[in-house]
Every structure is written in structure tokens, then in C-alpha cells.
């Protein structure tokens, strides 16, 4: 095939990726956007297959096996397990970049300096992405062993590993002899594998979404570096799109939690604000029953439901969608208030509720619904905790100080559905539970909502 045609096809593929991302800017065009992106990838792969005289046996094997495995994952996964899946896929992408750069190095004799730098970067970033993503996956799967791993003098170890990688890169670029280059490359990649583990293993499980977005960005950068190695424009363009996307998501999450990225990666949470004693805070907690809640709901005009991580754990999205339908049938206005970092991924609640057929208009963003909370008769807090903790507003010493929250405490009556008084991710007590207008409904999220529906039906 004419090399210019190949280049044009790569350009087309890059344009398709861009249009695909543009499609994701509106729910209406999102499905088409995703398909455009997939077409872009198809074009790039097909053109590459026909572009040169290749040995197809291994390729086709890899493509078929990969497709089958990928499809099985995609069909089987539960929506609550999306973060894990993204982490896993991400790691595979990173590993592929490392392997490609390594394979290229193994059979090339002369290298320019630019190229060697790009190769080293590709190996390093790809390997960090791979091992880091696997650890993140494990953490989200709640493998207990991982949480027990403690790296002594963690910051120093990380620093030394980074320095070693960079030093080896310099030595690799300036060295001569292709054996040394190859050895240095795999050394760098191995050290980077270790680095991925030491970086991620001591970050708290609830911060994994931030880590995953960051690793997503890395996997893009690794692909871009591989693009520099192969002088391949489509790798560079799509890699940098992914790099930008991951970084922006990371930033959005950090802003929504009012924490710096540095604090997420290296900080400890819950150190401040320990002066508050849970027993004192919870002295006046009132508990309630599903029947009482049903009675309150029946006479309400406007109800707001605030879902949180607990809704995902309890898989309560379908139940809560049914509850909404019941209430809407009784002419009650029902909205969902979605905090940007509720749950364990950005947009996590939206995906779950969309799965359960809640219409798009009923999902309202925090900034949009907060000014109207005073006119709400009943707020149901379903497995959310930190994102409704008024300490963020009132206690400047608390670890979540300054984090924007959903102002449920301003509504007339608050029903908090959770299993116990145990804290959320931030590990601090929540004065909301003891507020005068709060009632606790202690139960598993799904069960609680089903009981409320039952009680409504009974009346």
C-alpha cells in the first residue's frame, strides 16, 4: 500500500477519535461518539495490517484471543465493578506499550538519541501503568493482603526508584552497543514495575478512582511515547487525547474533594479533626422504621434522593428507581442530587441510575439543586456519608474542610439509610445523623428501600 495512503488513513483515524470524544459531550450523541472512536481504531488496525508484508499467524491469533477475552469481560461485568474493569484494561494497554517498544528495540541496530529517549519513556510509563493498575484493581477487589503491605520510608523508596530509572535512561541513551541498550531497557522497565507497586499500594481504597484516572492518563502518554518511537502520528494523537482526558478527570475529582493531587497520592487522610468524639456527636440520634418513612413520604410534595457509595454496594439502584416511580405516580416531585464524587468513580451514580432507567432530567447536579434544598420536604440519603457531611462547611480542621457538599441539612426532614453509624471514607463522624430533623433508617440500602415501597403499597 502507498505509504501516503497509510498516513492519510492514520489521519482519518485520528479525526475519528476526536469526533468520537466530541460526541461524548452530549448524552444524545454519546453512543455514536463511542462508535466513531471504535471505527477510528478499526481503520488504524486494518490499514496497518494491509500496510506491509506481515506474518499474519501470530497477529490473527492475538487479535482473536484478545477480542474474545475483551468481549467476555465487557458483557459479564456488573456496572458496580466498572472501576476495577477500567483499571485492569488500563494496565493491559500500558503493558502493550512497554512490550512494543521492547520488541522494536530488540531488532533495530542503529538508533537516534530522540528515539532512545522515547523508547525508555515508553517502557517506563507503560510499566508503571501496568503494575500500578493491577494494584489498583486488587485494592478495588478488596484483596485484604494488599492493604497490609507497608513500604518502609515509602517516599524515599519511590524517589530512589524514579532516580534509578532516569539514571539508567541517560546511560542507555549515551551508551554504545545494542546489548547494553536492550539490557538497560528491560532494567528500566522492571524498576518501573516495582515503582508502580510502591506508588499505589499505600493509597487508600477510596482514592483509587483518582489513581485510576491518573494511570489512564499515563497509559495514553505511554502510547504517545511509543508513537514517537515508531514515528506514528495516530499513536501520538490518540495517546495525547487520552493523556489529557485522564489528567482532567483527575483534576475534576481533586477539585470536588477540595484536595490537592499531591495530598491524594502521598497524604494521609483523617489526621486532622480527631478532636470530635463519635459518641458525643451521636448522643441524640433518632432511628426510624420503613413504615414511618412511608408515612412521611405520602404527605410530601417534593422529595430529593442523595445516593452515595452505599447505593452501589447494596445494588439499590433498581429499588430506588421503583420508589421514584411510585412517588411520581402519587404526584410527588422526585429528584436525585448527584455529588460529583459520590461513589467511587466520577459519574458513578449517573451510570448506576441510568442503568435502572431513571430519566436523565431527574438527575440534578450539586450546584443546581443546592439553592433549592430549603423547599424540600423529605431528603433520603441513601448510602452517602462524606458528601453530605456538614463538617465540610463548619469545621475548618476536618479532613474534608472546604469540600463542597450537598446541603441536605437545609431540607425539612432527612432520612439517612445506612447499616450502622460507622463513618464513610474520610473516617470522621457526621453530625448530620444527629441533627434535629434527621432520622436514621439502619438497614442494607436495597432492603430499606424495598421495605419503604412495601409500606407505601400497604397504605
Amino acid at each position: 500500500m502507498d505509504p501516503r495512503l497509510v498516513q492519510l488513513a492514520y489521519l482519518l483515524s485520528a479525526v475519528l477519535f476526536i469526533l468520537g470524544l466530541k460526541g461524548l459531550t452530549r448524552p444524545r450523541s454519546a453512543v455514536r461518539g463511542n462508535l466513531l472512536g471504535a471505527c477510528g481504531l478499526l481503520v488504524a488496525v486494518v490499514v496497518t495490517l494491509f500496510g506491509a508484508g506481515l506474518d499474519y499467524r501470530l497477529i490473527v491469533g492475538g487479535l482473536v484471543v484478545g477480542s474474545v477475552i475483551g468481549a467476555i469481560f465487557a458483557i459479564r461485568v456488573q456496572m458496580t465493578e466498572m472501576p476495577q474493569l477500567v483499571a485492569l484494561f488500563n494496565g493491559f494497554g500500558g503493558a502493550a506499550s512497554t512490550l512494543v517498544a521492547g520488541a522494536n528495540l530488540a531488532q533495530t541496530e542503529t538508533f537516534g538519541r530522540d528515539m532512545l529517549v522515547a523508547t525508555a519513556l515508553s517502557g517506563m510509563i507503560g510499566a508503571v501503568t501496568f503494575s500500578g493498575s493491577l494494584i489498583a484493581w486488587g485494592k478495588l477487589k478488596e484483596f485484604r493482603r494488599l492493604d497490609k503491605i507497608r513500604i518502609p520510608a515509602q517516599q524515599i523508596v519511590n524517589g530512589l526508584l524514579v532516580l534509578a530509572c532516569l539514571g539508567l535512561t541517560v546511560a542507555m541513551v549515551n551508551g554504545d552497543g545494542s546489548t547494553w541498550t536492550v539490557v538497560a531497557y528491560w532494567l528500566i522497565s522492571s524498576l518501573a514495575l516495582v515503582l508502580g507497586v510502591t506508588l499505589v499500594v499505600s493509597i487508600g481504597g477510596a482514592d483509587m478512582p483518582v489513581v485510576i484516572a491518573l494511570l489512564n492518563s499515563y497509559s495514553g502518554l505511554a502510547a504517545a511515547a511509543t508513537g514517537f518511537v515508531l514515528s506514528n502520528t495516530v499513536l501520538i494523537i490518540s495517546g495525547s487525547l487520552v493523556g489529557a482526558s485522564g489528567l482532567l478527570l483527575t483534576r475534576i475529582m481533586c477539585v470536588a474533594m477540595n484536595r490537592s493531587l499531591f495530598n491524594v497520592l502521598f497524604g494521609k487522610m483523617g489526621s486532622g479533626g480527631s478532636t470530635l468524639n463519635a459518641d458525643d456527636v451521636y448522643a441524640n440520634v433518632k432511628s426510624t422504621s420503613a413504615e414511618e418513612v412511608a408515612m412521611l413520604l405520602e404527605v410530601a410534595n417534593r422529595v430529593v434522593i442523595v445516593p452515595g457509595y452505599g447505593m452501589a454496594v447494596a445494588q439499590a439502584q433498581h429499588a430506588v428507581s421503583d420508589l421514584r416511580k411510585q412517588l411520581v405516580a402519587r404526584q410527588i416531585e422526585v429528584d436525585f442530587a448527584i455529588h460529583p464524587v459520590a461513589g467511587r468513580m466520577p459519574g458513578h451514580m449517573n451510570v448506576l441510575l441510568a442503568e435502572a432507567d431513571v430519566p436523565y432530567e431527574a438527575l440534578r447536579e450539586m450546584d443546581d439543586i443546592n439553592p433549592t434544598m430549603e423547599q424540600v420536604d423529605v431528603t433520603i440519603v441513601l448510602g452517602a456519608n462524606d458528601v453530605v457531611n456538614p463538617l465540610a462547611r463548619t469545621d475548618p480542621d476536618s479532613p474534608i474542610a472546604g469540600m463542597p457538599i450537598i446541603d441536605v441539612d437545609r431540607s425539612r426532614t432527612i432520612i439517612v439509610v445506612k447499616r450502622s453509624l460507622s463513618p464513610g471514607f474520610a473516617g470522621i463522624p457526621n453530625p448530620l445523623f444527629a441533627a434535629e430533623n434527621s432520622l436514621m433508617l439502619f438497614a442494607d440500602g436495597r432492603q430499606a428501600i424495598q421495605d419503604i415501597i412495601g409500606a407505601l403499597d400497604a397504605n
Partner: protein, 120 residues
């Protein structure tokens, strides 16, 4: 004499092919052009992605993750043209891993977005 780089060609030639001296031409070399492409693509990424609403952030995460599987292009070349066992095997593993990333990523995003659409 050319007073400017007068042709769309670059006169740096692989050292392996003999080190031809062509210093009279000094247009942009490929590496600089690729760097320019990288920077422009980052700008596009930032502009487009800041427009994506929070509702679609999870699909964005899995969708852009699928795009990062573009490394499959490099993997195909490695697996198909490598001479020697090592590059071929590395390439083949890379093809498999990258394909999982790509196929799985796009499919799961599609599944997720299907849920959004149903109510439109």
C-alpha cells in the same frame, strides 16, 4: 540555491545509510513535527474534554481507556515483521493485551451508554 526549505523533504538520512551531508537544507525534522502534533493534540483533548458533562464521566473514562489501546497498531507491526523469536512473541503478547483493552473498553462503554439512551 534554496533560500528556504524548498521541498517537503528532510535531508537528514539514517546514519546506517552512509551519513550524507546535506546541511544546506534545514527544514523541520520529523521529531519536531511529531512534537508539534503532540502539543496540538493535547490542546484538542483539553478543549473537548472540558466540555463533557459530569454525567458522562464514567463512559469517558472507559472510552478514553479503550482509545489508549491504540498501542495495538504498534503491536501488530511488531508481531508481524519481527525477525527472531523474541520480538515476535513480545509482539504477540502485546497484540493480545492491547486487543483486550480495545475491544473490552469500547464494548463496555457501548453497554453503559445504551443504558443512558433508553430513556431519551
Amino acid at each position: 540555491m534554496h533560500f528556504l526549505l524548498a521541498d517537503a523533504t528532510v535531508a537528514k538520512v539514517v546514519e546506517a545509510s552512509g551519513g550524507l551531508d546535506t546541511t544546506m537544507l534545514s527544514g523541520p525534522d520529523t521529531a519536531m513535527l511529531l512534537l508539534t502534533i503532540f502539543v496540538l493534540a493535547v490542546f484538542i483533548g483539553v478543549e473537548v474534554i472540558t466540555k463533557i458533562p459530569p454525567t458522562l464521566h464514567t463512559p469517558l473514562m472507559s472510552g478514553s481507556n479503550a482509545i489508549s489501546g491504540i498501542a495495538v497498531v504498534g503491536a501488530v507491526l511488531a508481531a508481524g515483521t519481527g525477525d527472531g523469536m523474541i520480538p515476535k512473541v513480545l509482539g504477540c503478547i502485546a497484540v493480545t493485551l492491547a486487543t483486550i483493552n480495545v475491544v473490552g473498553g469500547f464494548m463496555v462503554t457501548h453497554r453503559m451508554l445504551g443504558m443512558f439512551r433508553r430513556k431519551d
